[in-house]
C-alpha cells in the first residue's frame, strides 16, 4: 500500500479509538486511590491536548501539568532584544522561524522592527537562509536559531553548509535548548532562588520528535534516579491518550519505567548522524537563562570556540546587552512554566494579556499554555 499523507493522522484522530482509550484510562485510574499529575513537557503536546479537548476525556484523578517546552515562550527578554537590535542594523537581514517574530522584547517585536524598515524574514526551513545570503551578498544574514533538540540538527546542517562552501555572509545567534536538563530542574531545582517542586510532578509525557533525534535514551535516569516514569509519545490525540494510559498502567502495576509509545518512529538510540553533527558544532553552555525559570545548568547550546567567527553574539558583542530583564510583576508565566499554576489562575489572563497583546511569554506563541487555553477554552463539562 502506498503511504498517503492522510495515513499520518487520519486513524490517529478516530473518535471510537479515543473513546476506547478514555474507558481504559478510567478503569485503571479507578484502581488508584491517588491523583496522578502528568507533565507534558512539550508545548506541541499542550497544543494537541487543548485542541483535541483531551482533559475532557480523563477521570478527575488524572491531571495534566503543562511544561516549559515552548521554544519561544522560554526565551528571556534580553535575548529577544538581541534579535531586535541585530535586525535594526543597516546591513543585516535577520532570519528566524515562525512565531519568533511576534514576541515582544523591551524595544518591541521583530514584526514591529520590520515595520520600521528592518529586514526580517521568517523561513520554513533554515536552508532557505543559504538562498537569502546568496541573493544578498552585500548583507550579513543572521540566522536567529531557536528550538529544542528537534530544530537543532537543521541549524547544524546550515553551519555545516556555511563552512563547507566558505559562505562569508551568514552568522548565527544560537538559542537552542535541551529537554532533559530542564526536566531535572523542575523536579530538583538547584537554583537557590527557586523552590523545588519535587512533589508536583508524578510522571512525564516525553515529546516524540525530540526523541526521533536524541533517542529515548535521554530520559533514562528519570525512572531510576528520580523515580518518575516517562512515556515518549506522539502528538496525535490517539498517541497522547495511549501514552497516558501507559503511564496510568505503570502506577496500577507499581512499575516505574521508560517506555516508548511512538514506536513507529522513535528508537532508544535516536538519529546518530544528527547527534554527531550537533556534537561537532555545538558545546553546552554552563548556564542558560530560561524565561520564568531562571538559570538552568547545561540546558543551552552555543557554537564551539573554533567557530566563533560565525557567532553573532561574539561578532556583535559591543552592541548586544547582557543585563537580565525581568518579566511584568503580574505575569505568572514562571509558575506556569514550572507547572505549579494553570493559565486561568493568572489575574491578567484574557484581560490585560491576550494573544494579540501578550504580556507574558506563554501567551505569545501558539504553543504556549496561555495561548492554548485562550484559543481553545477549557470547556470541561
Amino acid at each position: 500500500m502506498e503511504l498517503e499523507l492522510k495515513n499520518l493522522y487520519d486513524d490517529f484522530r478516530d473518535g471510537d479509538t479515543l473513546k476506547a482509550f478514555a474507558k481504559i484510562i478510567a478503569q485503571d485510574a479507578a484502581k488508584l486511590d491517588r491523583d496522578i499529575n502528568i507533565m507534558e513537557v512539550c508545548g506541541g503536546h499542550t497544543h494537541s491536548i487543548m485542541k483535541f479537548g483531551l482533559p475532557q476525556l480523563l477521570p478527575k484523578n488524572i491531571n495534566f501539568i503543562h511544561g516549559p517546552g515552548c521554544p519561544v515562550c522560554i526565551m528571556p527578554k534580553e535575548r529577544i532584544d538581541h534579535a531586535y537590535i541585530l535586525a535594526m542594523q543597516e546591513d543585516v537581514i535577520l532570519v528566524t522561524l515562525g512565531d519568533m517574530i511576534k514576541v515582544p522584547g523591551s524595544h518591541g517585536s521583530l514584526q514591529q522592527a520590520r515595520s520600521k524598515g528592518a529586514d526580517v524574514r521568517f523561513v520554513y526551513s533554515p536552508m532557505e537562509t543559504l538562498k537569502i545570503a546568496q541573493e544578498n551578498p552585500d548583507k550579513k544574514v543572521i540566522f536567529f536559531a531557536i528550538g529544542f533538540e528537534t530544530t537543532t540538527p537543521m541549524t547544524a546542517v546550515l553551519v555545516d553548509q556555511v563552512l563547507k562552501n566558505n559562505i562569508t555572509n551568514i552568522l548565527f545567534h544560537i538559542n537552542h535548548v535541551t529537554v532533559p536538563e530542564v526536566m531535572k530542574e523542575l523536579i530538583d531545582s538547584r537554583d537557590e532562588h527557586v523552590d523545588s517542586y519535587n512533589n508536583q510532578i508524578d510522571a512525564f509525557l516525553g515529546p516524540s520528535h525530540v526523541s526521533v533525534i536524541a533517542g529515548a535514551k535521554i530520559y533514562e535516569e528519570f525512572p531510576t534516579k528520580y523515580n518518575r516514569p516517562v512515556v515518549v509519545s506522539g502528538f496525535e490525540p490517539v498517541d497522547v491518550m495511549e501514552g497516558i494510559s501507559m503511564i496510568v498502567k505503570q502506577f496500577v502495576e507499581n512499575r516505574c519505567e521508560l517506555e516508548i509509545q511512538y514506536k513507529r518512529v522513535v528508537s532508544y538510540e535516536g538519529n546518530l548522524n544528527s547527534q554527531a553533527l550537533i556534537n561537532k558544532y555545538f558545546d553546552k553552555v554552563s548556564l542558560f537563562r530560561w524565561r520564568g525559570l531562571g538559570n538552568v545548568p547545561d540546558s543551552g547550546l552555543k557554537l564551539k570556540d573554533e567557530y566563533k567567527h560565525l557567532d553573532a553574539e561574539v561578532v556583535y558583542k559591543d552592541i548586544l546587552p547582557l543585563d537580565e530583564i525581568e518579566d511584568h510583576k503580574l505575569c505568572i508565566c514562571g509558575d506556569i512554566l514550572r507547572g505549579i499554576a494553570k493559565p486561568p489562575e493568572c489575574t491578567i489572563f484574557g484581560t490585560a494579556c491576550k494573544p494579540n497583546s501578550p504580556v507574558g511569554s506563554c501567551m505569545v506563541s501558539s504553543e504556549g499554555a496561555c495561548a492554548a487555553y485562550y484559543k481553545y477554552g477549557n470547556l470541561l463539562s
Binding site: K6, G53, L57, V72, K102
Partner: protein, 331 residues
C-alpha cells in the same frame, strides 16, 4: 503594442490610448463604456448595492485562477452575498513599468470571461503605470453596483435552532496560494476555489429558500464568518467538526504548516444560514454545483457570541477568530 508596459502608456497621451483601446476596450466593449465620458450614467429601477475591493495577490497566476478572475469574482460575490444581482463594475488598474503586455492581456481576458458569468459589464475604468518597484507587478481595484433582488440578509438575524451550510469544501484558495509561494516547494494538484457565486445565490432565491445570513468566506475563512455571526446575533454556533468538508490536499498542507482549514481564505465558497425547515432543500440546491456542500453547524444558546467545535469523540473547544499573520508552528 510593445512587449512590455512603459511609463509612457500611463501618460494620458497617444500611448495611453493605444493601451486602453487595444487591451481594455477590446475586451470590455459595451455601449456605456464606449461613450468614453468622464463618468458612466446608469439606469436603475430598484434598490442598489455597492461595494469595492482591491486585489494585490502574489503570485498573479495560480492553479485555477489569476488576479483578473479574482478581481471580478471578489466584487461580484460581495454583491451576491447581499442578495444583489451584479450589474455594473468599474476597473482601476495600477501597473508596474516593465510588466508584460501578454500577461496583462491574459488577465483582462480572465476578467471578461468572469464578467460574462455574472452578466455584468465594466462601465468605467482607469489605468496608471508607475515606475518599477512602486507596486508589485499589478494591482487591480474593482467597484461594483448590483440590483437588490432579495432583501433582509443580515448577520444580525440568526436565532436559536437555525442551520448553517457551506457551499463546498473549504480552504482551497488559501492552501493553493501557500503551496504556490516561494520557499515551500510543494507540488500539489490543488486548485483555487475562485468562482462567481451569483448563479448559486440565484438558485437559492428562485427556489424560495429563506436566506437568513450569507457571507463569502474570504480572508479569515469560515472561522471568521462564524465568529462574526455569533457575535452580531448573540448566539452560539456549534459546529460538528466531522461534517466540515475539507479536501485531503488542503488538510495535508494544514497538517504540515500547522494551520486550520477553517481559517484559510476562500474565493468561491460561501456560508449560509437558513431556518431548519429549509436545510435539506438548500443543501440539495448547493450540491447541484458542488457535491461537497454540507450542513456544518446549528445555532444554540450554550455559549453566546462563541463558536464551538464538537469533536466526534465528545469533546468541545472554541473556534477562535484567526488573528495576525498566519505563521507556521516551529516544531
Amino acid at each position: 503594442m510593445e512587449k512590455n508596459i512603459t511609463l509612457a502608456m500611463g501618460n494620458g497621451g497617444a500611448e495611453n490610448n493605444t493601451l486602453i483601446t487595444e487591451v481594455f476596450y477590446k475586451a470590455f466593449k459595451n455601449d456605456i463604456l464606449s461613450q468614453s465620458e468622464d463618468a458612466a450614467v446608469l439606469d436603475t429601477s430598484s434598490k442598489i448595492a455597492m461595494t469595492t475591493d482591491s486585489f494585490t495577490v502574489s503570485p498573479l497566476f495560480f492553479a485555477g485562477g489569476d488576479i483578473g478572475k479574482l478581481s471580478i469574482c471578489g466584487t461580484c460575490n460581495d454583491l451576491a452575498m447581499m442578495g444583489a444581482k451584479p450589474k455594473y463594475l468599474t476597473c482601476s488598474v495600477i501597473i508596474e513599468e516593465g510588466f508584460s503586455t501578454r500577461e496583462l492581456e491574459k488577465i483582462v481576458r480572465s476578467m471578461k470571461k468572469e464578467l460574462a458569468i455574472n452578466d455584468a459589464i465594466i462601465v468605467s475604468g482607469d489605468t496608471k503605470v508607475v515606475p518599477k518597484g512602486s507596486v508589485d507587478k499589478i494591482f487591480i481595484n474593482t467597484t461594483g453596483v448590483g440590483e437588490v433582488v432579495y432583501s433582509g440578509i443580515s448577520s444580525h438575524n440568526l436565532k436559536e435552532g437555525m442551520s448553517i451550510l457551506v457551499s463546498r469544501d473549504i480552504g482551497a484558495h488559501g492552501a493553493t496560494i501557500f503551496a504556490a509561494r516561494e520557499g515551500i516547494g510543494f507540488e500539489t494538484t490543488l486548485q483555487t476555489d475562485c468562482a462567481s457565486l451569483y448563479p448559486q445565490v440565484k438558485a437559492l432565491i428562485d427556489n424560495d429558500i429563506e436566506i437568513v445570513a450569507l457571507r463569502d468566506a474570504t480572508r479569515g475563512g469560515v472561522a471568521a464568518v462564524l465568529n462574526e455571526w455569533a457575535k452580531a446575533s448573540d448566539v452560539c454556533i456549534e459546529v460538528d467538526e466531522a461534517s466540515i468538508p475539507i479536501q485531503e490536499a488542503v488538510q495535508g498542507i494544514c497538517e504540515l504548516l500547522g494551520f486550520e482549514a477553517l481559517s484559510l481564505a476562500n474565493e468561491g465558497t460561501f456560508v449560509l444560514a437558513v431556518p431548519k425547515k429549509d436545510e435539506q432543500k438548500a443543501l440539495q440546491i448547493l450540491q447541484q454545483t458542488n457535491n461537497t456542500a454540507a450542513i456544518i453547524a446549528t445555532t444554540t444558546h450554550s455559549h453566546n457570541t462563541k463558536v464551538i467545535l464538537n469533536s466526534s469523540w465528545g469533546t468541545k473547544r472554541f473556534l477562535d477568530l484567526p488573528s495576525g499573520e498566519l505563521l507556521p508552528r516551529i516544531c
